[in-house]
């Protein structure tokens, strides 16, 4: 049984057994949940299908959320990508478009997969689905990589938090980016240790990020943080695959994230009392919406 206390331990175990992290996590979860590996893979495939459907509908939709605060940005981004006018190239711009798309679908009461939360639901699928398209990966490979994402997410949830109310946005969009980065590394043939470094990079880049949703709604800044979270994941995966290593070991980074989350004042943890939620514009929006 895996205890999910340490990402390093997970990576070491994978290396010793000559397996991928996803294989270890799948075997462990099949035992833990008393179901066959095939059953779990099919359940995960169902989630991937929901993710793909959300990306697809979000990219074409121009409808607005109930508050009127969001909608249509993914479509704008997608037009730039399709028109070949992107500044940063196909993989990144397509990833950004999908991240916005899925987060907008969430804001508009569409169906998504919390990954790890609803607020951060666009990050993991945006990167993995884009890599699948651009690098011609199979669906089975992407489904398996979600077990790596989930395995690392379980360690983060256990040792720190994956909830904005508990740990700020570093715990939501940060964790999602870290999970996505590790999964992307595995998908692109990187080692378990590289996945661990990628996870560390992504978290380190957003340590201290607060949760400050305008009017308490999962829209501003959440949707755009899904885009930047997906970009963060791509940057982290790229560096790890180049053989770059994190000076601070991944488990210590998670420890730091926990300490920072604990030290964060309540006003910056989903209560909509601080940060962006406390700006004059946000307060005006809140007054208008909540009237």
């Amino acid at each position: 049984m895996i205890t999910y206390d340490s990402i390093q331990e997970l990576a070491d175990r994978a290396r010793k057994k000559g397996k991928r992290i996803s294989e270890l996590v799948l075997e462990d979860q099949a035992l833990h949940m008393e179901q066959s590996k095939d059953e779990l893979v099919e359940l995960m495939r169902k989630s991937l299908h929901v993710m793909a459907a959300a990306a697809k509908s979000g990219l074409t939709s121009r409808s607005l959320s109930a508050s009127g605060l969001s909608g249509g940005d993914a479509n704008k981004m997608k037009q730039v990508v399709d028109g070949g006018r992107s500044l940063s190239g196909k993989v990144l711009s397509e990833t950004l478009a999908k991240a916005l798309a899925i987060a907008e679908v969430n804001a508009c009461m569409g169906r998504i997969v919390a990954a790890p939360t609803a607020g951060s639901c666009g990050i993991i699928p945006a990167l993995l689905l884009t890599l699948k398209e651009e690098h011609h990966l199979t669906e089975d490979q992407v489904v398996m990589s979600l077990f790596t994402a989930a395995g690392l997410g379980m360690v983060i949830a256990k040792k720190a938090s994956i909830s904005g109310a508990e740990g700020g946005c570093q715990a939501e969009c940060g964790s999602a980016a870290a999970m996505a980065a590790a999964a992307a590394v595995e998908l692109m043939g990187g080692s378990p240790q590289m996945s661990a470094h990628a996870c560390a990079f992504a978290l380190k880049s957003v340590l201290g990020l607060v949760c400050d949703p305008v009017a308490g709604l999962v829209e501003v800044p959440c949707i755009k943080r899904n885009a930047s979270g997906a970009a963060n994941a791509l940057v982290a995966a790229e560096m790890a695959l180049a053989g770059i290593e994190s000076t601070i070991p991944v488990d210590e980074v998670i420890g730091a994230m926990k300490a920072i989350g604990d030290a964060m004042p309540k006003a910056l943890k989903e209560t909509a009392e601080g940060g962006l939620a406390d700006t004059p514009t946000a307060k005006k929006i809140a007054r208008e919406i909540l009237r």
Partner: protein, 220 residues
């Protein structure tokens, strides 16, 4: 915790606590009320009261009362669907700070005019805690098969019910008793590892002083 708590659940957005959890509270109220009510009044507390429109908490609770699950894509149209289904509803915002921040108190009236009250709180990640059924304060999360058994507080009732479960190979994960006062109205809440068949539920209902047995299926 397992992998599907992290990649999952599949749900309708935008918020696991304000939307998915709210659907679940509505679903449980529907089961406890014995089916679709004809009129409901919903009192919202804390951030449910402040943000319910933007998060669709109102649509989510109504969807649950109509029997939809948290991943049902009709949730966003539930207010209109309630009209078609002949269920009227009213929302009230409460400024009472005493309860958990994300709480809804649902009063549901059925066709015969019988009223059922269910109060639940959404505690994060789509998880909920039901904290009141009619006049009795309870506490359960709905992540197991959960039997609600209102009865009169008399000796031997618990023994009779647990024996029935044991005889049918059903293992109890947790059992709690709540009562208004000694010898008065009481509620047994039993969480089990296995599904409880309808015939076992009827056998429990036949136990002396048991008024009713309601089975709630686990969340995901």
């Amino acid at each position: 915790m397992n992998v599907f708590d992290i990649i999952g659940p599949i749900m309708v957005g935008p918020s696991s606590s304000h939307t998915a959890g709210a659907v679940r509270i509505g679903q449980i109220a529907r089961v406890v009320a014995g089916g679709k009510p004809v009129a409901v009044t919903i009192e919202l507390y804390g951030s449910f009261a402040q943000t319910y429109k933007g998060h669709g908490t109102d649509k989510a609770i109504i969807a649950g009362l109509l029997g939809m699950a948290p991943d049902d894509q009709r949730i966003k149209d539930s207010l209109a669907l309630a009209g078609q289904a002949g269920m009227s509803f009213k929302f009230r915002k409460s400024s009472n700070q005493a309860v958990h921040p994300n709480t809804a108190l649902i009063s549901a009236v059925d066709q015969l005019g019988k009223k059922t009250i269910v109060q639940g709180s959404s505690v994060g990640g789509g998880r909920i805690v039901v904290n009141r059924i009619n006049e009795i304060n309870v506490k359960f999360k709905g992540d197991y098969y959960t039997l609600l058994i209102p009865h009169t507080d008399t000796p031997g009732v618990i023994a009779a019910v647990t024996k029935l479960l044991a005889d049918h190979g059903i293992n109890i994960a947790e059992l709690n008793m709540y009562r208004s006062h000694r010898g008065g109205e009481a509620m047994m809440v039993i969480e089990t590892d296995q599904a409880v068949k309808a015939e076992v539920v009827s056998l429990i209902e036949a136990v002396k002083t048991v008024k009713k047995a309601v089975l709630i299926e686990p969340i995901y």
